[in-house]
Symmetry: C2
Subunit: 394 residues, 2 copies
């Protein structure tokens, strides 16, 4: 337990006001005070400091009816720019985002399998500086860069502990990137960033305990409590793919038998299917299943069963009010997605089945870079606060 | 996200100071300020308000050496008394605790299977008033009563949603009890209360993310983050017993095939064993396994395997720094306990195996009533704060 001090409250309340201005674009100070249950004085003080650093701006508008002018607040979209990056087995994706989370520029490019960290850093540097030049981005507005990748990541040091998909182990990736770019750098697990974006961009803001499940080259889960990412002791929470669902099951890359991901993750399905046919990716298996080839039907049916089990197990352990499904399997194959939803309805433990809404992500492929960009901005703003606090204390 | 206000900080900091005084019995204000990284003024203000309501007391002592008097603080053990209750299938356990969590009086008695809620309330009333009389407990010091039971409980309304072990469904147990006793009443899930006690009484206070796993008549898990119980949306988090580990497994009471608890929980093991021999409880199976009867050896071995899987799955999903094993299976059968620990060592996903310490609870059977008593006290103290705040705001 740590001391909660004035600075902690200040940040929390400032974040709340920023979120409210974002959610209710063009809002008065009086309405903010009502929405946040804060005193008008507190709201005015927070707004003043946010305007001070240019994050919030005023607009004078005639209100309808009486014609009296009122002052509305909105985020200043151009006040800052952040860079979100996603790395996976085969791709590098880079995006620049303004303060509203709107994309300024994105680029996607292929990477080598197991490409080493310093090579990835060089390519990121090239892409980022080229995009800055091409889109005439003001480098003074850049808050930093945040990279999401699959695997275990120490989000405090930027070290990649292990990433099977990237082929990295104990890689000081954050430090390498910082040395080259000279911006603040954050490294995090990709699904946690995607979940963060889902939370901030969900239409229904009321969710307090949300789980994002990713089905694709791996299987993962991320839990968001309020606006906070649940990280666990070493930022490694959510490795649902390595929960064991059959002690006599298939051998997993980790050495255990019957990890959940061996029944669902694309690579395992392809390896299994290769015993029967020449398949390159999940689409080949799904096509074969559509043609009623028994081996393919069985593989897909089993994957759907275990995806439904994943949803049930997450409901039982985390008791979320909302689960969002994401990942390439969900996004690329609507028929599989619909069958997973149907199977989950039957599978979820009945005392909790009506209390969890299961939805499909609509952020698609940009979810990770968007979450990365937004987290970079939030961390920057909170540090701004620390610096101001430091000055005041001197 | 809710507004964090002065009152929130006040409570958090007051709780921190109370915890520090408890951990460092006989501590000076100056040392508290250092330990809590608070200003001496803040510490003095908090201590004054705690002394005001009698929770903390001063002792003057000569310090060694120079002989100068110093003023030490400690909790005032007699300042309040709370009542913790545990209900399970066959037993009622009641305990009175002082502010240090020391037991003043306890009583355990058998209850009927599926005994109805109003009958349990009558018996609790009889026991509580008899113990108050017998131990001459000052009724004005009683902060309230907290009841832990197995099942889904709405901890805000005191309603028992469903408890298979008690045979209750949608039972307004909290209200019934409050009507009879006229004390503040809390109803909660038993394992969450046990975990709360484990956290407050653990020798190593450094754990920040702790999971308590219970193996007995059911299988459950409880997650403590800092000093906070993770509850999920409806206080139903931790139902690991209903995570599915084999879609073709045994039928569970919930209607699903292959819930984790069907391989571990005592009732299921007895039902399985009954196909081969006349067994009354887990001990009969363990004795038969010790005599090398094949059916019993197999049942126990499978249970141990799945208990190790439970530990692994909890590590992968929650990434705790510490897991504490508890429950009747662990507490009554040391040889089974040791074999579970050994199996878990081999089973836990290797990237996280060295980062989680697995321990065995030493609170034993009083864990739930102790946690219940402590939570009742903490809620009482925080409400005291609210009332004072209300008065000040008027």
């Amino acid at each position: 337990m740590k001391k909660k001090d004035q600075n902690f409250i200040k940040k929390e309340n400032q974040n709340l006001i920023l979120d409210l201005i974002q959610d209710h674009d063009l809002v008065t100070r009086a309405k903010l005070a009502r929405l946040a249950s804060m005193s008008p004085t507190t709201v005015s003080r927070i707004v003043a400091s946010l305007m001070d650093v240019g994050l919030v701006k005023e607009t004078n508008k005639h209100t309808t009816g009486v014609g009296r002018k009122a002052t509305f607040l909105s985020l200043n979209p151009d006040s800052l720019v952040s860079i979100g990056v996603e790395l996976d087995e085969k791709n590098i994706r880079v995006g620049f985002f303004d303060f509203l989370g709107r994309s300024i520029a994105t680029e996607e490019t292929e990477k080598e399998l197991r490409e080493d960290a310093s090579s990835v850093v060089s390519r990121l540097k090239e892409i980022i500086f080229r995009l800055i030049h091409q889109y005439e981005i003001d480098i003074h507005k850049i808050t930093g860069i945040c990279v999401g990748l699959p695997g275990l990541v120490n989000n405090e040091t930027g070290e990649v502990i292990i990433s099977a998909q990237l082929g990295w182990e104990n890689e000081s990736f954050g430090q390498l990137l910082k040395d080259e770019l000279n911006y603040p750098v954050l490294i995090d697990n990709e699904l946690k960033l995607k979940a963060y974006a889902e939370k901030l961009f969900s239409k229904d803001k009321s969710s307090d305990t949300m789980v994002v499940l990713g089905f694709g080259s791996g299987v993962g889960s991320a839990l968001i409590m309020g606006d906070t990412i649940y990280r666990g002791y070493l930022n490694s929470a959510g490795e649902i793919g390595h929960t064991v669902v059959d002690p006599n099951g298939m051998l997993c890359t980790c050495g255990n038998f019957g990890c959940l991901q061996t029944y669902i993750a694309e690579g395992f399905l392809i390896r299994e299917a290769s015993k029967q046919a020449d398949v390159q990716d999940l689409e080949d298996i799904i096509l074969a299943a559509d043609e009623n080839q028994k081996w393919a039907v069985n593989i897909i049916e089993r994957a759907i069963t275990y995806a439904a089990i994943t949803i049930n197990n997450s409901v039982c352990l985390n008791n979320p009010d909302k689960i969002i499904l994401t990942g390439s399997t969900i996004e690329r194959f609507p028929s599989v997605r619909d069958r997973i939803l149907e199977a989950a309805n039957k599978q979820i433990w009945s005392p909790l089945s009506d209390t969890t809404s299961i939805e499909v992500s609509d952020l698609g492929e940009t979810g990770v870079i968007l979450g990365a960009g937004l987290l970079s901005q939030r961390v920057y703003i909170n540090q701004l606060n620390d610096e101001k606090e430091l000055i005041k204390n001197e």
